[in-house]
């Protein structure tokens, strides 16, 4: 069953954002192709194009050298393409067997599902991973009772039960432990020998070199390199993923006088912070420090900021100015003069349909007495909007009338009114236009000069390198590297993000 799939010059736009401008991928029977790229390089879009989740805007997909167009995941599935989704496609209140065989249940002549046979077939599939999971993963176990790694295994088995010709593993190893990964790789080798074609999307360098035969590197939506994995080194791959063109000239807060920050007192101290995704984070932030948080998306950056803001439960110790705090509610964090700029400004940061004034004053209304001193409130809001050079029709205009960058200014502005000591920023420049970004950088520098501590997570590596003196890189819920001074380079940052430990002191 020889099969080949080629993606040629794929273009995919989301609204005005170009996710892929020239994506290319070739995969044939009996080989594993690693799809590699940094944050936002378009690798997840690429895998979604292949499995029919998104419809492409340009370019061509060739299956066995014939052009194809997938309108839905089902269409791709019919052609023998199965995907192990990273966001799992399981129904949690159904059993493992029901989930794997949904729509393909073996039936008895009475029209009833042959559960015995279905369980046997499930047992056979589970045997593929036998010994790597707890004994309570049985065909009749409810998916909701499983651990994340076991759910991932069920998702893998669901895909392989289709006996696909082409299998896409989209970050399938992310929640598996090392033994399970080991087993998966043995299986991948077997499937390869059976003539399946496998696309392996991963951000773990070590795994890519172990399992892949060929690679395809994406950078900024373009395929910048393809070839045999044996002809390339880890370093060269990282080089490929790293882009040279820089848009901005960054000016660091204390450029030239880097050391001055070191004698500022410690503001925030975190010891062994653990949540569902974080696995023991310890760090210190000084007053006036702009600490960068890097790494691939979803490595625990969001949890770190939310835990510090008292938004999610955590274990571990947090000290602010030496005093142990345990926030159970963001309100308590606000009282301690913390501010959070959340990652999803439309959902978490703003009341979209309310006015700019309302949004600015939302955290601060209690400072305006009863009845509210509206004149004073308006004057303060206006001051802030001028300071941020907010482009708006007026304070009463709804936030929904603003552009992305200006809306983000409102999120920052509402905290500026409270004059916090510490800002927690979750990818604040995402979807923000270039000019606003520049203003933003100026503001961050200004704030840190005023002695504010800032934790700045960004998915844009250039920003981190350009703005921060020190960057911690998260990988799998742990601090993989701490980069500063000479070690703070893009190569080291990407290497650490990918789990390669040659950058910085871990």
């Amino acid at each position: 069953m020889s099969v080949s799939l080629s993606a040629r010059n794929i273009v995919k736009r989301y609204g005005g954002v170009v996710a892929l401008s020239d994506g290319n991928l070739d995969v044939h029977s009996g080989e594993v192709v690693a799809l590699i790229g940094a944050n936002g390089s378009g690798k997840s879009t690429m895998s979604k194009v292949i499995n029919g989740v998104v419809v492409l805007d340009g370019g061509q997909l060739l299956l066995d050298d014939k052009p194809v167009r997938f309108s839905s995941p089902q269409a791709a599935r019919k052609m023998g393409i199965a995907t192990v989704f990273q966001e799992l496609s399981l129904v949690s209140k159904m059993t493992v067997a029901d989930n794997i065989w949904l729509t393909r249940e073996p039936l008895k002549s009475s029209g009833m599902i042959d559960r015995k046979l279905m369980w046997e077939k499930t047992e056979a599939l589970l045997d593929l991973f036998s010994g790597t999971f707890k004994a309570d993963l049985k065909p009749a176990t409810l998916v909701s009772a499983l651990h994340p790694d076991e759910k991932q295994i069920v998702e893998i088995l669901k895909a392989i039960s289709l006996n696909p010709r082409i299998l896409i593993l989209d970050e399938a190893t992310a929640s598996l432990d090392s033994r399970q990964v080991e087993r998966l790789f043995e299986l991948v080798k077997r499937w390869k020998a059976e003539g399946k074609a496998i696309v392996f999307v991963s951000h773990r360098m070590e795994e890519i070199f172990r399992i892949a035969d060929r690679y395809s590197v994406l950078r900024n939506g373009k395929t910048v390199g393809q070839g045999d994995i044996k002809d390339i080194t880890e370093k060269d791959l990282i080089q490929l993923m790293t882009e040279k063109e820089k848009v901005f000239q960054f000016t660091k807060a204390a450029s030239g006088e880097d050391t001055s920050g070191l004698d500022h007192p410690i503001y925030l101290e975190v010891e062994n912070l653990t949540t569902e995704t974080l696995r023991g984070i310890s760090l210190k932030v000084r007053q006036g420090e702009l600490l960068g948080i890097g790494g691939l998306q979803g490595q625990g950056q969001r949890d770190l900021l939310l835990a510090l803001f008292g938004d999610i439960p955590y274990e571990g110790k947090i000290r602010i100015k030496g005093e142990v705090v345990r926030f159970k509610h963001p309100r308590q964090a606000m009282r301690k003069k913390l501010a959070l700029v959340p990652g999803d400004r439309a959902k978490e940061g703003l009341l979209y349909i309310r006015s700019i004034l309302d949004n600015f004053l939302l955290p601060s209304w209690q400072n305006y007495g009863f009845p509210l001193k509206m004149k004073l409130a308006k004057r303060d809001a206006l001051t802030i909007s001028e300071r941020l050079s907010l482009v708006m029709a007026g304070l009463m205009a709804p936030v929904s009338s603003l552009s992305g960058g200006n809306a983000q200014k409102v999120v920052i502005g509402k905290w500026l009114l409270r004059d916090p000591d510490c800002y927690l920023l979750d990818d604040p420049t995402k979807g923000v236009d270039v000019n606003t970004k520049a203003e933003f950088y100026g503001l961050l520098t200004e704030l840190s000069q005023q002695g504010k501590s800032i934790l700045f997570y960004s998915s844009d590596d250039d920003e981190l390198i350009g703005l921060c003196d020190r960057v911690i890189v998260l990988h799998d819920g742990k601090i993989r590297a701490e980069l500063q001074g000479a070690s703070l380079t893009k190569e080291n940052l990407i290497a650490a993000s990918m789990g390669v430990s040659n950058g910085g002191e871990a």
Binding site: Q74, S89, V91, M94, E105, L142, S144, P313
Partner: protein, 322 residues
């Protein structure tokens, strides 16, 4: 580590809570009415409970699929008014049969209208069926503006007094309903129902025909509401366009205390059937204990609030422990 066993338990035995409640209610009822297990008393109770049992079974199917059907009471009313006006107090058994079939057709049609709006046009179930409930009650009022009419007493008595092998007719009907449910539960359609109610998006990605599954739940519910309408007409023997209106909320209450989650995908039909019987017995208790009838609404409302809040309270207590 056995903390999640509650979830597990509710999942495997969704009727658990309903059965405890049933036993408690039975004991109280027995104290107040020692002859409640005598053949006549049992039969007169069960024939009163049966319409609600049928209605709750249909409602359970919709709720399992992730929806809700607020129009079931309206469908009961339509069926009641069709039978009361078309068969008449002096109608023949043949006429009765004809219009029983017409009624079932009307129920299926009403359910199909709901299903079309919700499954194909993707409208909100609660809003859609709220709107169609007015449509259906309005249509019933159009058929029979003032209470009256009815079916012949001898036909009604077949429903009221048939006790094969000394057991109430309702027992046999319940057995049939549960057997059919057990069959459906073990077919592919049964699996689709749970998948759509549990996670419609994942079901869609796995090629489950989500639209048709949703559509069918409302058709089933309409059919069961028509059966309930036939049963209640034979029980009362007369017509009243408002007869179904208070039954809607009760059917949802029966489903909820029967352990079938309003969020969909969890539970079954057996629990709601037990729930409907329990609610009937609670009504009995209220009338026997000679307390004001307003208690009835109060008790029913309290039960639904407690049943809805219970999982949340359990979660809250668990979170406190952490």
């Amino acid at each position: 580590m056995k903390r999640f066993s509650w979830d597990e338990m509710m999942n495997r035995y969704p009727a658990f809570f309903a059965i405890i409640l049933l036993v408690v209610a039975l004991i109280i009822n027995f104290i107040l009415q020692p002859n409640m297990f005598a053949r006549d008393t049992l039969n007169s109770n069960m024939r009163v409970f049966l319409p609600m049992i049928l209605l709750a079974a249909g409602q359970a199917i919709v709720i399992l699929g992730g929806g809700i059907d607020i129009s079931v009471g309206g469908i009961v009313s339509i069926v009641n008014t069709i039978l009361a006006t078309q068969v008449g107090l002096n109608g023949s058994p043949e006429k009765m049969w004809t219009f029983v079939l017409v009624s079932l057709g009307a129920g299926i049609l009403a359910g199909a209208i709901n299903g079309f709006f919700i499954a194909f046009l993707r409208l909100q179930p609660i809003i859609t069926t709220y709107a169609t409930s007015f449509l259906y009650v309005g249509f019933a009022l159009f058929i029979l503006p003032n209470p009256g009419g009815g079916i012949p007493a001898e036909i009604a008595n077949v429903y009221r007094n048939t006790t094969p092998l000394g057991l109430p007719l309702a027992f046999y009907v319940i057995a049939v309903v549960l057997l059919i449910w057990m069959y459906i539960r073990s077919t592919r359609f049964g699996n689709y129902l749970y998948a759509v109610g549990g996670n419609a998006e994942a079901a869609y990605e796995t090629a489950v025909p989500v639209t048709w599954v949703l559509f069918s739940t409302y058709v089933v519910s309409g059919f069961m509401a028509a059966l309930a309408g036939i049963a209640i007409t034979m029980l009362s023997g007369s017509g009243n366009a408002e007869i179904g209106v208070p039954m809607t909320l009760t059917s949802i209450t029966a489903v909820v205390i029967g352990g079938t989650a309003l969020s969909g995908g969890i539970g079954g039909v057996a629990g709601p059937v037990v729930g409907a019987i329990t609610l009937g017995i609670i009504q009995n208790i209220i009338s026997f204990s000679r307390i004001d009838t307003w208690w009835e609404t109060f008790v029913k409302a309290s039960i639904i609030v407690v049943a809805l809040a219970a999982p949340g309270v359990i979660n809250l207590l668990r979170r406190k422990k952490v």
